[in-house]
Symmetry: C2
Subunit: 313 residues, 2 copies
């Protein structure tokens, strides 16, 4: 019997246990997720991404403080290896985060980006659903925005915020290649730095090159300060997110958008389940070492062998 | 009949056509790859990765010049959206690369990082095999080293070079989280910048925390200058790569290492083929829109539906 009541009551220890069990792919954890699903759909999910060094986690920190001040419960999923929220964090950063750790209105979950082959977005979906069922009304998902995985993760968000800073030079290209396409709100952080005007102009220019929906993306300047809701521009950022929410998720087209989001999630879950099968099949296959040896020695080609292995699944 | 002779002759136009056909997943292109496989295995594959802004592509450029000066043919696979070698490059960078475009001893292929869901490493393997069969003796694979995909790509390399720079501060964490584990050679680029000593010390410290193979990783300082083999430290970098090659691929354990590499590639190909199937299955399924709607409206949970879809594959 699946007892979802502790999760629905927002009990942190029960949730932490469930998340661990989900990591371990325990069948009963999946049953729990299925049982929780009808109780989800209340949270508003915000993705925050951008180059390393853009100050994403400081923006996230200021947003937590902002939403907490407004009385909201905030869940955070950190899938950014550079984030102080995530497991890879150095001690100093961990300590800086302790303040939130003591706030029962904030739940922070970091996901390892290693060993989650093709499963990072699945894990993000899963954790976001648990937080949603627990009653967190804002869910912030922080990723480093470079790889395809991260773009997939952002599909789980209602509003995607892309953070950049002045002075990255050519690295603004990293945003161009993919992220700009998913951005609903753009942030120029550390806006007191030299070059903020130019960065904003560059972003506007790149938005103009986008497929005709230029006007839908707001650019907000912030000077985020860790742990204070008053970080310059944070209220404006929250307002820009609300504007996007109103346009995208409350008017015409919202239902279709929700269906697209569900479709993307289904596709991701199918892919992840197939990947699990492949991993199990490869592990179970005792003769794999000999097969790999024949490939290493160029006796057999890997494409034909892969086809044969897939046929046998 | 599969005519691989033009590829074996190193004909650039035939190779470009094959790579396009591979992108389009044409069955005859795959047959070509299979037929080429016995002719591969001569190239030495070097992966170059690191944070955006570390100057990877300048290092790659200097390495091209170095190996060309030594009379080697050099193939480049760029899967880095920030790289001037890649398709996302701005015009200025493209022009800077023209010099190599006119050198028949250099072949540069950039891979889009979008729309290659889980298939980026497969595409890299495929292109590297074509370049190998064409007679390129050095193959340089450049990626942005953040996501899981990129780490997978690096498994295709014989030697992995991780490039960093002084002054990235906390962003060195991005290397810590994953990349350091795959590094065979570490580069401190822009070593004339302030903080190079500290960066090197930090890297040494992080290597010490690694599982006991600290001494196997050389740290090289470079001041790479685009397009000249004389970029300070590039000869040392090439020497460090040769040292690693000797230790890893010419002595004891080399055969086992080759088998591991083949195993990783097989696993990747199996995953990619399953992902193709999933994509086709999802596309073929006319009722997906209705199913997704039932998920969007919380009537059915996506995990159960995904299980059902996988069962039907």
């Amino acid at each position: 019997m699946t007892n979802i009541q502790p999760i629905l009551n927002g009990e942190v220890r029960a949730a932490a246990r469930l998340m661990r069990d989900l990591d371990d792919r325990r069948p009963e954890a999946l049953d729990m997720l299925k049982a929780l699903f009808p109780h989800t759909g209340k949270a508003y999910v915000i993705g925050i991404t951008g180059n390393p060094g853009a100050g994403k986690s400081t923006v996230v920190d200021a947003m937590i403080a902002h939403y907490r001040a407004a009385g909201e419960k905030v869940g955070v999923v950190a899938v950014d290896p550079t984030s102080p929220f995530s497991g890879g964090a150095i001690l100093g950063d961990r300590i800086r985060m302790q303040r939130h750790a003591l706030d029962p209105g904030v739940f922070i979950r970091s996901l390892a980006t290693r060993g989650h082959l093709g499963g990072m977005s699945r894990s993000t979906f899963d954790v976001a659903h648990v937080l949603d069922a627990m009653g967190y009304t804002r869910i912030l998902i922080e990723t480093v925005g470079v790889g395809q995985d991260e773009v997939e993760v952002m599909r789980a968000a209602h509003t995607t915020v892309v953070v950049t800073v002045p002075g990255l030079g050519d690295d603004i290209q990293a945003i161009k290649a993919g992220l700009l396409e998913v951005a609903d709100v753009l942030v120029v952080n550390k806006a007191d730095r030299e070059g903020a005007d130019r960065t904003e102009r560059d972003l506007m220019h790149m938005l103009d090159l986008r497929t005709g929906d230029r006007k839908d993306v707001e650019i907000v300047r912030t000077i985020a300060t860790r742990g204070t809701a008053e970080g310059s521009g944070i209220a404006e950022l929250a307002a820009a997110i609300e504007t996007h929410r109103g346009k995208a998720w409350q008017g015409e087209g919202a239902a279709e958008r929700a269906i697209n989001r569900a479709t993307a999630q289904l596709a991701e879950l199918v892919r992840a389940q197939l990947a699990d099968r492949a991993t199990r099949a490869m592990a179970a296959r005792g003769g794999l070492h000999e097969i790999a040896q024949s490939v290493a020695e160029r006796q057999r080609d890997p494409w034909t062998i892969a086809e044969e292995l897939v046929e046998k699944l």
